[in-house]
Structure formats: structure tokens, C-alpha cells
């Protein structure tokens, strides 16, 4: 199929960017979206232009690196997928596709479609861990029985790939689904209880400091999340923070 692409081009963090139009031809419906971008870039390199910079790595939907806003949706129109898993069969011949970087004040653009998500790193550093030394001198793994239900729920929260689609999608650029997922994973496990109060307070404080917006419960993040992280995690974070403050 033949497509028209409108892509955000921006030389570097300080430059002013704009949408630029490109045409690509003979795109197979079995291609992934990023393979279509490869075709465009190969075309640009061959014609002496600078290819479009975009983040990507594993191309199997787990690393969380890819981060495009396609036709007004994070990771494009398909559900439960990252951009690398989005296939061109979701589009039609002759379509015009708008491709923008994830937009949030806390995710400044580095170049073209590449954004800086280190704000997520700092939130994790503020408390996204259990303070246990890696010496190996811990108790036997089976000495801490955990109900299957709690383990499964913690796993569901831990599935977050940190891509930032929740922030990009949210009309308020809120990071609460991301933070809620991490807070929840540890809140659901006995190992996480000791530091639970400090963890949620510190992570939320860092999240606020980074300039993410507030949650207004539109639920858009849950729908666009490639890993289906549930809104329940935000509610749990709210509970955890209230609990921490009532102590």
C-alpha cells in the first residue's frame, strides 16, 4: 500500500520542530509499524536526507523503548501492543498517518520522535525497590509463602514496561498509572511491607516534582497501556498514600 506520513521533525532539544510530510510506497500489510519506518529511513538515507530518529530496541513489545503517538493514540490504534507490535494491516492504502513524539513537559523531546524519559528513572530511584542487599544471605525463597492471588496480582502490576504511553495519552500528562503499578507490586507482597509508607510518599513526591499532571480518572491510560495495567493500581496507590499519612 501507499501512505502519506506526517512526522514531527526536530533537530535537537532546543530547536523548534514542525510536522513534515513524506510518502512511502509498496508497504506490505505484514510489516510492523517500525519496519515501515525503516523503509522510510532507508529511502531518506539513499536520497541524502537525515533519517527520522525514533526510539526502538527489542521489537517484541517488552523493552518499552518505542514511543510514538500515531494518529492521535500512543502506540497507534491497536490495543495491547507497543508500536513495534503494531502491524500495517491496521491501516489502509492511501491513508495519511500522523506520527508525533510522546508529549509531556516531563518528557522533553531530544530529537524528532525521541523523548527523554529519565523522569521515570528518578521516580524509581526515589523508592521503587526493596532495600535488601544482594549478598545472597537471605532466607530461603519458600520461607515467605505468598498467596497465588497476591503473587498474580503483583505480577500483573509488575508487567509495566515503563514506556510512558500512559503519560502520553493522559490529557493531564499524569504518570499515576506508572507509579501506581510500581507501588502496587510491592504493596501486594509481604517483602514490600516494611518500607511501604516511605516508598509511596517518596515516589509520589518525586512524581510531583517532575511536573507530571494530576489524575482525573478518565481511564485513557488503562485503555492505551500496551500491557493492560489496571486503573486499580492507581486506586491502590491512593489508598497506600492515605494509609501512609494516617500513620
Amino acid at each position: 500500500m501507499n501512505l502519506t506520513l506526517k512526522i514531527w521533525r526536530q533537530k535537537d532539544a532546543n530547536a523548534k520542530g514542525q510536522m513534515v510530510e513524506y510518502k512511502v510506497t509498496e508497504i506490505s500489510e505484514h510489516m510492523s509499524f517500525l519496519e515501515m519506518m525503516d523503509v522510510l529511513n532507508e529511502q531518506l538515507v539513499n536520497s541524502g536526507d537525515e533519517p527520522v530518529a525514533f526510539d526502538h530496541d527489542c521489537r517484541e513489545g517488552i523493552c518499552g523503548m518505542c514511543s510514538m503517538y500515531i494518529n492521535g493514540e500512543a502506540h497507534g490504534p491497536d490495543r495491547g501492543v507497543t508500536t513495534c507490535q503494531l502491524h500495517m494491516r491496521m491501516f489502509k492504502d492511501g491513508d495519511t498517518i500522523t506520527i508525533e513524539p510522546f508529549r509531556a513537559a516531563a518528557f522533553p523531546v531530544i530529537k524528532d520522535l525521541v523523548v527523554d524519559r529519565t523522569s521515570f528513572e528518578r521516580i524509581q530511584q526515589a523508592g521503587g525497590y526493596i532495600s535488601v542487599n544482594t549478598s545472597g544471605n537471605t532466607q530461603d525463597a519458600n520461607a515467605i509463602p505468598i498467596s497465588k492471588h497476591a503473587a498474580d496480582e503483583a505480577m500483573d502490576a509488575a508487567t509495566c514496561i515503563g514506556c510512558g504511553a500512559c503519560v502520553a495519552t493522559c490529557k493531564n500528562s499524569s504518570a499515576m498509572l506508572f507509579v501506581g503499578a510500581k507501588v502496587s507490586q510491592y504493596a501486594l507482597l509481604p517483602q514490600g511491607q516494611v518500607e511501604a509508607a516511605d516508598r509511596v510518599q517518596n515516589m509520589v513526591a518525586q512524581m510531583d516534582l517532575e511536573g507530571f499532571g494530576n489524575c482525573t480518572n478518565t481511564g485513557a491510560c488503562e485503555i492505551e497501556c500496551p500491557k493492560g495495567i489496571s486503573l486499580e493500581n492507581i486506586a491502590r496507590m491512593n489508598r497506600e498514600l492515605m494509609k501512609a499519612n494516617l500513620k
Binding site: M19, T218, A220, L246
Partner: protein, 225 residues
């Protein structure tokens, strides 16, 4: 605890708490208003009690005003803050793909409700304050009869006002359709209760504003001269 209400989540909780309070107020307001359809006398009596009881007038009324102002001011502050969390907006954004119109436009439905409240104050509240606190007339009487029911009917004579009233309550309905469950989510309601809360929320959001609309239309067409 002071720090809590400065945090993003604390502010959400504050919004939710003020919302609960306002929703409770709305419910009792409705309960009183609907009396006007069934029994003008009971309506008059209850209105008189509400309008003259010291606890309500000096205690709850300021709290209510504070609640309304707080909910609006906080709503605006959050909206501004949230807007500033995205400096450059998307060239193309497909919001409808992942969220409801009502959830994305709480600020607009809220503003419309605010405009209505201003109208409502001009219509009812300012004259009430004037009568009671400036003129010092706490009798509730007009020509020897309770004036409340009569005043109510008077107001609904104008089709324009009834129209504005209907529009405002439709917007309130939209505001509540998202706001009710949203408040519970902010307070950390568990997933297990989500479905029930959604159903109650829907019922509340539809029944209450619809009821107010019915009352207005009823009085418009059943005016006793």
C-alpha cells in the same frame, strides 16, 4: 498530614471529599424540592425550617459555600496545573478512542454549572439573604402565607429560565456521570466494588438531575395563579 494535601494525590482526595459533600447536599436539596410537586404545604414547612434554623443558616450554610468555592477553585488550579504538564499539544489527538467526552471535559461542564449557580444565586439566594439578613424578615411570610412555594412557581414561569435550568442540569448529569465514580476512585475504592459503584453512580447521575428538570417543567406547566 499537611503535606498530604499538597501532593497531587492529596489534592485529588480533597476534590473527592468536597465532591462527596456537594453530592450529599444535592441529594437533600432534591429531596426538599420534590416535595413541591407532591405537597406545597410540606415544601413550605421544610423550606421554612431550612431557611430559619440557626444551625443550618449559621453553621451549615457557610460550610456549603466553602465546599462549593473550594471545589471550583481547586478544580481550576488542577486544570491549570494539568494544562501546564503538556507545553506543546498534539497535532492530532484521538481522545474519543480511549475515554468518554464527559471525563475529558469536566472543566467545561463544571464551568457551565458554575454559571448556573450564579444564576441560581441571583434568583433565590440573594433575595433570601436580602430578606433575612438585610431586611431582617425571618417570618417567611408574604401576605400572611408562606412565600416559598409561591416564589418557586413564579420563577418557573419564564420558559427561558426553564430552558437554562434544563441545560444546566443536563451538564450536571454529564459532570456527575464521570464525577461520581471518579471521586470514589480517587478515594481508593477497590476493584471489587467498582462495578457496584459505577451502577450507583450512573443511577445517581441520571436520576437526580432528571428529577430537578422534571420539577422545573412540572411547575412551568402547572402554575397556579
Amino acid at each position: 498530614m499537611g503535606g498530604f494535601f499538597k501532593s497531587s494525590i492529596g489534592r485529588k482526595v480533597a476534590m473527592a471529599l468536597s465532591a462527596f459533600f456537594l453530592m450529599f447536599f444535592l441529594l437533600q436539596h432534591f429531596a426538599i424540592n420534590i416535595l413541591s410537586v407532591f405537597s406545597p404545604d410540606t415544601f413550605n414547612e421544610v423550606s421554612h425550617f431550612m431557611g430559619t434554623n440557626a444551625l443550618i443558616q449559621y453553621g451549615l450554610q457557610p460550610v456549603l459555600i466553602f465546599g462549593v468555592v473550594f471545589h471550583f477553585v481547586m478544580g481550576f488550579i488542577l486544570e491549570l496545573k494539568n494544562k501546564s504538564a503538556r507545553k506543546i499539544s498534539y497535532a492530532k489527538n484521538h481522545g474519543a478512542a480511549n475515554s468518554t467526552w464527559t471525563s475529558r471535559n469536566m472543566i467545561w461542564s463544571g464551568l457551565a454549572i458554575l454559571a448556573f449557580i450564579v444564576l441560581h444565586f441571583i434568583d433565590f439566594w440573594f433575595p433570601e439573604i436580602n430578606t433575612k439578613f438585610i431586611e431582617g424578615d425571618w417570618s417567611g411570610l408574604h401576605d400572611g402565607e408562606f412565600r416559598y412555594f409561591h416564589e418557586l412557581q413564579e420563577k418557573f414561569l419564564s420558559p427561558v429560565r426553564v430552558g437554562a435550568y434544563v441545560v444546566a442540569f443536563v451538564l450536571l448529569m454529564l459532570h456527575l456521570l464521570h464525577g461520581f465514580t471518579s471521586a470514589f476512585q480517587s478515594m481508593g475504592a477497590t476493584a471489587g466494588r467498582k462495578k457496584t459503584l459505577q451502577n450507583i453512580g450512573k443511577a445517581y447521575a441520571i436520576i437526580i438531575p432528571l428529577g430537578f428538570i422534571v420539577i422545573a417543567i412540572y411547575h412551568h406547566f402547572n402554575h397556579i395563579h
